[in-house]
């Protein structure tokens, strides 16, 4: 096999998978994983590791796969990453580890994500128990607010160091965006549950259904705990706020995905939560959330169109997800900007008035700025519109944290180690950076945990 060829994991047929919510990628078989692992050059100075926000020993775990020592491989992975089955599935590897792989120069990079996933799934299937090595039991207590990727990672790091860790979560299930945001067909919820169960084995105490800020005030946490980590995400959806935003049939992607993922509305009426779905669904936005919403709507039987104001090259979504969406039949209406929603007499959405765009000079983000084309308005008939245009920080908690400095966008201001303006309070993930990725949130959780340890050992 030539070096540049990459072994692709097995995927379900687009026509078949577009009808259900089961996982799209079936991953590697043992043989395929070994072949792919053998492509790794085992660089002395591995650039891939630098591309990984949690610094996994990538050549190390891949070498063990090549040697068919999967359990050894798993041990290495787990040392760096508490949630490998999740990261292997949802990381944007093309801009992280795989983007940094030297093989990019000659062909396709090593499929590091798929290999990570393979090892984690293999361990789970073979019932490999994680070695729980808690350094030494400590008496200091840490509160983590939010059971999303950053909070869970911080919790795992701190529990392994022997601290008493309480995680406070508002929802009835831990996982944050892994549970309510990312759909089952990309990340089966049973996997999230399994990885979270490992944290419980580490002794992490997860308290559900507790909205910190209302049920417990920050002041009480400050008195009761030696340190606090805030990882509440950037959960409040933005709306374009164009005419007709209140019409029935207009959703935020957060609401649409929460109904589907967390509440399992696709199983209505077996599950009690309904979701509206029309013959036509339009999703507005070009990020991963837009792809998830579009592919979910497709699975409910709709004819789905994504509207994006720039062109495909500027889309922030992962290339693989755009590709998957296209394969499944999602249509793309690029260089198009909605200007108002049109409703019928009963207040139901019947269409979106849009304007065509052209690309101008690059803006601050380096992407070419979309400019409306005069007299190009047209109407897209649709019964459902889903806005996936980003989020704002959720103020439920932040407004109650006295003395906590926020930046001009309302996110928490921290130093490079995740420490906030209140010395014993740390923060990480989307509530610091704005909407980013699962693995960056995990990296922030890990970094803050390290700093919390230093802070408490002083």
């Amino acid at each position: 096999m030539a070096l540049k060829d990459r072994v692709n994991p097995i995927e379900r047929n687009p026509k078949e998978r577009a009808k259900d919510f089961s996982e799209v990628s079936l991953g590697y078989t043992e043989n395929l994983a070994i072949i792919e692992a053998k492509r790794c050059l085992q660089c002395k100075i591995p650039t891939c590791v630098k591309g990984c926000p949690v610094g996994i020993d990538i050549p190390g775990f891949i070498k063990q796969i090549a040697n068919e020592k999967f359990q050894e491989s798993y041990k290495i992975l787990k040392k760096y990453n508490a949630l490998p089955a999740i990261c292997g599935r949802v990381c944007p590897q093309e801009v992280q580890c795989e983007g940094a792989c030297v093989l990019n120069k000659m062909g396709k990079p090593i499929a590091i994500g798929s290999l990570e996933r393979f090892v984690a799934d293999w361990a789970s299937k073979n019932n490999i128990k994680d070695e729980i090595k808690i350094e030494k039991k400590l008496t200091k207590k840490i509160a983590i607010i939010g059971a999303g990727p950053s909070g869970l990672t911080a919790a795992s790091e701190l529990a392994k160091s022997g601290f008493l860790v309480d995680v406070y979560e508002t929802f009835s299930e831990p996982g944050g965006v892994l549970i309510y945001g990312i759909p089952e067909f990309r990340l089966p919820k049973s996997i999230v549950k399994k990885e979270v169960d490992f944290l419980k084995e580490l002794g992490v105490n997860i308290l559900l259904n507790i909205p910190v800020g209302n049920a417990i005030e920050p002041q009480e946490l400050l008195e009761k705990y030696d340190a606090i980590f805030i990882g509440v995400g950037a959960g409040t959806p933005k709306f374009m706020n164009i005419e007709g935003t209140e019409l029935n049939g207009v959703y935020s992607a957060n609401e649409f995905l929460t109904r589907i993922n967390l509440m399992k509305a696709y199983k209505f009426p077996e599950y009690d939560t309904p979701v509206k779905i029309g013959k036509n669904v339009v999703v507005i936005g070009g990020g991963n959330t837009a792809m998830d919403a579009a592919r979910s709507a497709l699975r409910l039987g709709a004819n789905v169109t994504i509207i994006y104001r720039r062109s495909e090259g500027e889309m922030p979504a992962r290339k693989a997800e755009i590709h998957h969406a296209k394969e499944e039949g999602v249509k793309f209406q690029l260089l198009t900007q909605p200007i108002s929603y049109i409703g019928d007499k009963e207040g139901n959405l019947i269409g979106i008035k849009c304007v065509k765009m052209k690309l101008g000079q690059p803006d601050k983000s380096g992407r070419r700025k979309p400019i409306p084309i005069e007299n190009s308005e047209f109407i897209i008939p649709t019964e459902i519109a889903i806005e996936a245009i980003g989020t704002n920080p959720n103020k439920l908690l932040l407004s109650k944290f006295e003395g906590l400095k926020l930046n001009k966008w309302g996110y928490i201001q921290t130093n490079e180690y995740g420490q906030t303006s209140i010395p014993k309070v740390f923060a990480g993930g989307d509530i610091v950076t704005g909407s980013a990725t699962v693995i960056l949130a995990m990296g922030a959780g890990k970094k803050a945990a390290k700093k919390i340890k230093e802070f408490l050992n002083d």
């Binding site: 209302n214 049920a215 709306f239 959703y251 609401e255 309904p274 207040g347």
Partner: protein, 278 residues
Amino acid sequence: MLNNIVKKEKLAYGVHLFWIENPIISKKAKPGQFVIFRIHEGGERIPLTISKTKGNMFRVIVKAVGKSTYELCKLKENDYIKDVVGPLGTPSEIKRYGRVLVIGGGVGIAAIAPIVDALINVGNKVDTILAARNKESIILEDEFKDSENLYFATNDGSKGEKLFPNQLMEKLIKEEKYDVVWAIGPALMMKACSEVAKQHNLKIFVSLNAIMVDGTGMCGGCRVRIKDTLKYTCVDGPEFDGRDVDWNSFLTRLSQYKAEEKKALENYLKIVGEPTWL
């Protein structure tokens, strides 16, 4: 976190009172706040106003209108609610206003009970209107004894005046100078009362019963137009000045899942038969 039903009582047909054990909520809840229940695995999340607290318990009063509330009303003492989140929402703006008129319509009476108490406690003189379809649907009457004046309005005239609450409100406003009004009940009632308040240039708090999912500001499903801005009922409200609410779009959004709600209830009744427990 126990969430067991300590006490349950039927107040009227399809209207049931529950005392739920939950030390955190009972300790933290303030008037105007709500909880979200998920009765069982697979259940939906439904918002319910906290109607009172006592020791380790809080009270909700539920009217059976669809599948989840039918199921809730079927639960018995010592049963558990799977998930209870709260307290949620911004508390009522309780302060010394002077003379206050508080209107509760139907199960909205349960929501005004803690507000009336709190308003009286800080030194307001409160007149209360309890309004309902008929005499039998007036609940919790005993809890409003500390009101300066207690008025009743029923659609059929079986108790108090045969007037809609907004009509009685209009009548009282002409006789007495009020500093602020609260009106909590069905959306149409709150809308009608808000129109009266607007005509008389009077501040009126209403508590919006929007459709919610998470109840923590994460989804925007409960959004409502207040003057020119979009607000989230669950975190910015549920109480707003009724004069600023865009009632038409609010009412439209309330009816979003009518067909699905009907289907869910029909399916449920097919399984359980006559809802004799209501």
